[in-house]
């Protein structure tokens, strides 16, 4: 009942989806404290550098902050606790993730709004183009009309 082609596609789809599911379940190498330090460091700005994160910068204060993050990670603090502590010492500018609340949080929403709008516009444009499916005359049609007109002309003249 299913053609061979559809069967192959079904297998491919199944293989693809199951691979993804397995990938989600698989654990990579265990996440060490150092890994946590690295990923946290990317979330904080170095206070004296031009926009670099604590992970990127080699400035003294960046190293100290990394050391502090490492201390807190080793102590077992959660990501939120570490963030709060740093923000309490410096101020919100140190957190490179724009906070969710208020005007600042708009940055997370605006792109989504724009993308949704973009795709909606795309979809409506496609739909509009498909419905006004007016066709231009084909050559055959034009020839036919021309020959009929000639016939009519001859009729009128005769």
């Amino acid at each position: 009942m299913f053609s061979r082609r559809s069967l192959i596609w079904l297998c491919l789809l199944a293989a693809g989806i199951s691979s993804l599911v397995i990938a989600t379940q698989l654990e990579g190498p265990p996440r060490t404290n150092e890994d946590r330090v690295r990923s946290l460091s990317e979330d904080f700005a170095c206070p004296t550098c031009d926009g670099q994160s604590v992970a990127e910068s080699n400035a003294v204060v960046a190293q100290e902050i990394r050391r502090e993050i490492r201390r807190q990670v080793d102590d077992g603090q959660t990501d939120e606790e570490i963030t709060e502590a740093l923000v309490a010492s410096y101020n919100e500018s140190i957190d490179l993730r724009p906070r969710s609340g208020g005007v600042v949080g708009l940055i997370w929403i605006l792109p989504v709004v724009v993308m949704v709008f973009g795709f909606a516009a795309l979809a409506s444009v496609f739909r509009r183009w498909r419905s006004t499916d007016a066709r231009s005359a084909s050559r055959a049609d034009i020839d036919l009309v021309e020959s009929l007109r000639r016939e009519r002309q001859e009729q009128v003249e005769s």
Binding site: P47, T48, V60, V61, Q63, E64, I65, R67, E68, R71, A85, L86, V87, A88, S89, Y90, N91, S93, I94, R128, W129, T132, A134, R135, S136, A137, D141, I142, D143, V145, E146
Partner: protein
């Protein structure tokens, strides 16, 4: 037949949309860009770490062994003004402000109104001892394991000085080198402005 007159062809219904769409899209984009330009034109581009969230809050703990062997605890200093100074022996503004701190300490620690504590940032104890031996200064200096103190105060670069009121709360942050006059003026101002105690919000 290659020529087709306009009359011979069936009228094609072109949607009236595209040209108006172009205009509206262009205007919308243009408006956004105008806003962007306005924002860019009025910006002054500076980092935002001058504002400290510690102001009006209880000063973070500073405890540890000073370079002269005594133990220091910030809590023990309650009842007088404390000048918490973060420095490094190699930083030029720190070297320049040092005599000011020496003068301040000489005048006020005698009366017990204020005390000074220096916290070295990313420096060694031996460097610090040598620095104080050469340049004077008889107050507590912490040099070991001081990174965490600096971070808890939100130090971005040295020198930075924090003024802690007798009640234990942080009142002021000085960025860059301080002078004796700066500190005195600030203490005076705070004393006059708030004869009531400055309330701690923790």
């Amino acid at each position: 037949m290659d020529d087709m007159d306009a009359d011979d062809v069936v009228e094609v219904e072109l949607p009236a949309g595209p040209s108006r769409l172009a205009f509206f899209a262009a205007t919308a984009v243009g408006a956004v860009l105008v806003v962007l330009i306005a924002v860019l034109a009025t910006s002054d581009g500076e980092a935002g770490f001058a504002r400290s969230p510690l102001i009006s809050k209880t000063a973070p703990l500073i405890t540890g062994e000073a370079v002269d062997g005594t133990t220091f605890d910030l809590d023990a200093e309650r009842g007088r003004w404390v000048v918490v100074n973060f420095f490094a022996t190699t930083c030029v503004p720190c070297i320049e402000e040092h005599p000011e701190l020496v003068a301040f300490d000489e005048q006020y620690s005698a009366t017990g109104e204020a005390s000074v504590v220096s916290v070295a940032f990313s420096d060694t104890a031996s460097n610090v001892r040598e620095f104080f031996a050469t340049n004077g200064g008889e107050w507590a200096v912490l040099a070991e394991d001081t990174g965490r103190h600096a971070i808890s105060y939100g130090v971005a670069a040295v020198p930075e000085t924090y003024l802690v009121a007798p009640s234990g709360i942080v009142t002021t942050k000085f960025i860059g080198g301080v002078t004796k006059l700066d500190i005195e003026t600030e203490i005076d101002r705070l004393n006059r402005a708030n004869s009531t105690t400055v309330v701690a919000e923790s």
